[in-house]
């Protein structure tokens, strides 16, 4: 295949950046999208220039580190991550535009690499069950209905790639945050901390500069693992529940559900 690539190049976080065009001549349709970029980078390096910075690791669609906006769509055409995209999804002679995730909370570090540490801080604010190693009882002591495990899994499978943020016109990370809130709250062991968790995580989400949700479900459309917006509804219910509980606790002089 012959391709023309318009790729975002940006020296560092402060640089304004801009598109640069590249031509590739002999790309196999069996090649993955990232292997196509590998080939381009070898070509750039052989000509003595600095290769394009992009991230990838597992190349199996699970680590969540790769993430490019391809022709305006996070992770490009089809379901799955950028690393799961193959050149057979394109046509000979295509022009392809490649950009990084764009969101205030994900500053661009260089070329196609962004900083997603905001996601880590949301988890650090409460996205866990507080259990020290050694305290656990037998795993079969508490029975968990299969349907609850499946529901938990639907949230737990989020790979933290950030496509949901990149697709959202408000750059909201509601789908990411909701996936984690849902994963833990539908399990019996996650119910004890449910109120503190949801309040802390939602507040951290807002503090990081992610926008609000306006129910356009663009996030669900690009999620490579199929996390659904029903998780956002669940998070909103949880948040409202926790706030109401706080309100009544406060009127009775009790502790607020916040660390």
């Amino acid at each position: 295949m012959k391709l023309t690539l318009k790729i975002w190049r940006q020296k560092n976080a402060k640089d304004a950046g801009g598109f640069k065009s590249y031509k590739l001549d002999d790309i196999s349709e069996h090649s993955s999208f990232l292997e196509m970029l590998d080939t381009l980078n070898q070509q750039i390096m052989n000509s003595g220039d600095e290769p394009i910075v992009f991230e990838s690791d597992c190349r199996e669609g699970i680590c969540g580190v790769c993430g490019l906006v391809i022709n305006g769509v996070p992770h490009g055409p089809g379901r799955g991550t950028t690393c799961q995209l193959h050149m057979r999804s394109f046509k000979d002679g295509d022009e392809i535009t490649i950009e990084p995730w764009r969101a205030d909370a994900f500053p661009i570090m260089k070329d196609l690499m962004v900083d997603r540490s905001a996601f880590d801080r949301i988890i650090q604010s409460g996205g866990y069950i507080s259990v020290n190693t050694g305290s656990a009882r037998d795993a079969n002591e508490k029975l968990i209905p299969q349907k609850d495990i499946e529901k938990a899994f639907d949230g737990a499978q989020c790979i933290g790639c950030g496509a949901c943020v990149a697709a959202c016109k408000n750059a909201s990370a509601n789908l990411f945050t909701a996936a984690k809130v849902s994963h833990l709250v539908v399990l019996p062991q996650g119910k004890v901390e449910r109120s503190e968790r949801v309040i802390n995580m939602v507040e951290q989400h807002d503090k990081e500069g992610f926008g609000s949700c306006s129910n356009q479900t663009e996030c669900e459309a690009v999620c490579p693992v199929g996390v659904t917006v029903s998780n956002i509804s669940r998070m909103n219910r949880e948040y409202a529940r926790a706030k109401v509980k706080n309100f009544f606790n406060a009127t009775r002089g009790g502790d607020k559900c916040k660390k």
Partner: protein, 637 residues
């Protein structure tokens, strides 16, 4: 180098309990006086950092990724073993121990393996409490599946993403400790050297991958949780970033490297599609539970796989190994596939693939049940190959997947450098010459959650109120060493990309030190690798500079270490004149082409000591004794 494995006295089932009781403890209020560096945030590193911080130690956690959640443990699919015996099918700690020693072809330490089996059940409890959504039956009880090398169902799983779910559990525990201020996290930092003072590990030198800044970090102990070295083969199932640099640089500072030639080839990977291939993709071994492996009986079979009738198919694993069938251990399954392809029965355009067929599973269980169990794996296969495995058999071929060898450790997981510990795949200890499926996750978490928290105190107790800080001259010297190395890489200014050398190295390793090895081939490989190392330092070109994000520079440093390691792997394979587990020397095989061990001469762990770059490594031997498991030729018929 003195190798003292520190295996506790007493009967095997009492050793761990006794050892925990005999060891020194650090009292809770003193724990905060100790700094511990944990390098790597996979299952071993994440669980260790979280648990040590829970105990009160001051922990610094480092990873090369942008987030701890991206460590390559995340890609493990199939499951995690534990001797729960929930299925009432005869499992026990002793059986898991026995299976693991036998599966490892009698080249692992009995005491370590027994401990692994002993704590395995606690891992499942711990992870469940963290919210890991292990598969359940309709009744709400935990479900199990069986896995290669075992005749019981002891594998716990979370769809086909068990590694991801376990890692997220450890990541959440770690995140909690970061939020509480007990762990300081350094993402996008690469450990490039170990600082030793008076022979003890006292810190590390790191490079900030975002701005190239080199820095030193001091601690009372350093934990290497940096995974394995499969990427020495260039093409493997490891992530693009997986590398041996941290382990190798510790090796050059005195840590013995054990059994480097023990590498595992995974039988169920996707075949290569062309020269652009950047990595190989594994399909979970759990597929072998219900999938049947076959090749056409006819060498010049032209029909599409789903039109080849039963009588023209050779289900060769079921034919040769009737007792275990498609569930023989990984090395046996891999070599059988290679033999079939070498003999001309391979499929795919390359002739380097065999079929993995779910036709009878779909007939037996129904489409829906197969989808439920393997849906995401089938989807992944279709996404990569464009073929639908519900309609046509998958094509698979073996690929390098895991390295059993690694940094030598004693029973406390301490390396031959006091104060330096190695956990998870980075160490050599539990899998012998071959790892059983679903045991890597078990070992990583066992080391991090349950072993190191109980053994590190024994070392630290001697250093209470001993200050360590990065002002000692050794820190500056080590940093200077890294700086010089980086400049050397940038100044070669040749005309070949780092990737070129990685590919060349990979070809040599796969050809001569891969699935089967010979005296002649290994000698040839050693010469070729020495030549490659020379070429690398004359011809590599690293663009950009060191004060910036520079992926080519990161890669070049890692490849230079892989080249050195590759040579040692060949030497280790050459030294071991027997076949065992993943190490197959063609000269030493049974009539049935099975690995032929030589217990008389090679029942030892080969531990290599670094003596200088252009000097020969020195071989030390840690003898292996088997008091519980009866040495026998592995037989899966």
């Amino acid at each position: 180098m003195i190798l003292d494995s520190k295996i506790p006295e007493g009967p095997i089932e009492k050793k761990w309990t006794k050892h925990k009781f005999d060891g020194s403890l650090v009292n809770p209020s003193n724990k905060r006086k100790f700094d511990i560096i944990v390098v790597g945030t996979g299952l071993a590193g994440g669980s260790a950092a979280a648990t040590l911080a829970e105990l009160g130690y001051k922990v610094k956690s480092f990873c090369i990724q942008d987030s701890p959640r991206r460590a390559h443990s995340i890609a493990a699919q199939g499951g995690i073993n534990a001797a729960k015996n929930y299925q009432n099918d005869g499992d026990s700690v002793y059986r898991l121990f026995y299976d693991t020693v036998k599966g490892g072809d009698y080249r692992a330490r009995e005491a370590n393996v027994y401990r692994l089996a002993e704590v395995s059940a606690n891992i499942i409890d711990q992870c469940t409490a963290q919210g890991v959504p292990f598969a359940r039956e309709y009744s709400g009880y935990l479900a199990n599946r069986s896995f290669g090398g075992a005749q019981v169902s002891r594998t716990f799983y979370a769809r086909g993403q068990t590694g991801q779910q376990l890692l997220i559990g450890a990541y959440q525990a770690l995140s909690r400790q970061i939020g509480l201020g007990n762990v300081e996290l350094f993402c996008r930092h690469e450990m490039l050297d170990l600082v030793t003072i008076d022979g003890h590990a006292r810190g590390i030198v790191t490079r900030n991958l975002l701005n190239g800044e080199l820095a030193t970090h001091a601690a009372h102990a350093v934990l290497l949780c940096t995974g394995g070295y499969s990427n020495v083969f260039n093409l493997s199932t490891n992530g693009m970033g997986s590398n041996v640099t941290a382990s190798w640089r510790c090796h050059k500072r005195g840590a013995g490297f054990a059994n480097p030639c023990f590498t595992q080839i995974h039988p169920t990977c996707l075949p290569q599609s062309g020269p652009h291939q950047s990595k190989l993709t594994l399909m979970s071994e759990s597929l072998r539970n219900d999938g049947r492996i076959w090749v056409p009986k006819n060498k010049d079979e032209k029909r599409p796989a789903n039109q080849i009738p039963e009588e023209d198919r050779d289900y060769y694993l079921e034919r040769i190994y009737p007792a275990f069938g498609n569930l023989v251990p990984r090395d046996v399954a891999s070599r059988a596939a290679k033999r079939m392809c070498d003999d001309g029965y391979g499929v795919n355009e390359t002739g380097l693939a065999v079929y993995l067929d779910f036709k009878s599973a779909i007939e037996r269980m129904g489409h829906a049940a197969v989808e439920k169990k393997y849906g995401n794996l089938f989807e992944m296969y279709e996404q990569i190959t464009g073929d639908n495995p519900y309609e046509t058999p998958m094509m698979i071929y073996p690929a390098v997947h895991y390295t059993m060898g690694g940094v030598w450790v004693d029973y406390n997981l301490m390396t031959s450098v006091p104060g330096l510990f190695a956990l998870g795949e980075a160490n050599f200890s539990d899998h012998g010459a071959n790892r059983l499926g679903a045991s890597a996750l078990m070992q990583g978490l066992a080391d991090g959650y349950f072993v190191i928290p109980n053994t590190i105190g024994n070392y630290l107790a001697d250093f209470l109120n001993v200050e360590v800080d990065a002002s000692a001259p050794e820190f500056e010297e080590t940093l200077k060493n890294v700086q010089d190395f980086t400049e050397r890489l940038l100044n070669v200014n040749g005309d070949k990309t780092p990737q070129f050398f990685h590919r060349e190295l990979g070809k040599i390793m796969w050809e001569y030190c891969g699935m089967s090895r010979t005296l002649e081939g290994l000698n040839k490989a050693i010469d070729m690798i020495q030549e490659l190392r020379k070429d690398f330092w004359e011809q590599v070109r690293v663009p950009g500079d060191c004060k910036d994000i520079n992926q080519a520079l990161e890669q070049a440093g890692r490849i230079s270490d892989f080249i050195e390691l590759g040579e040692l792997m060949c030497k280790d394979a050459l030294n071991r004149e027997e076949s065992c587990g993943g190490h197959f020397r063609e000269e030493y095989q049974t009539e049935n082409n099975e690995a032929l061990r030589n217990d008389e001469d090679y029942s030892y762990t080969a531990v290599w000591e670094f003596k200088g770059l252009d000097k020969e490594h020195e071989l030390h031997k840690e003898p292996l004794t088997f008091d519980y498991v009866k040495l026998a030729q592995r037989n899966y018929k």
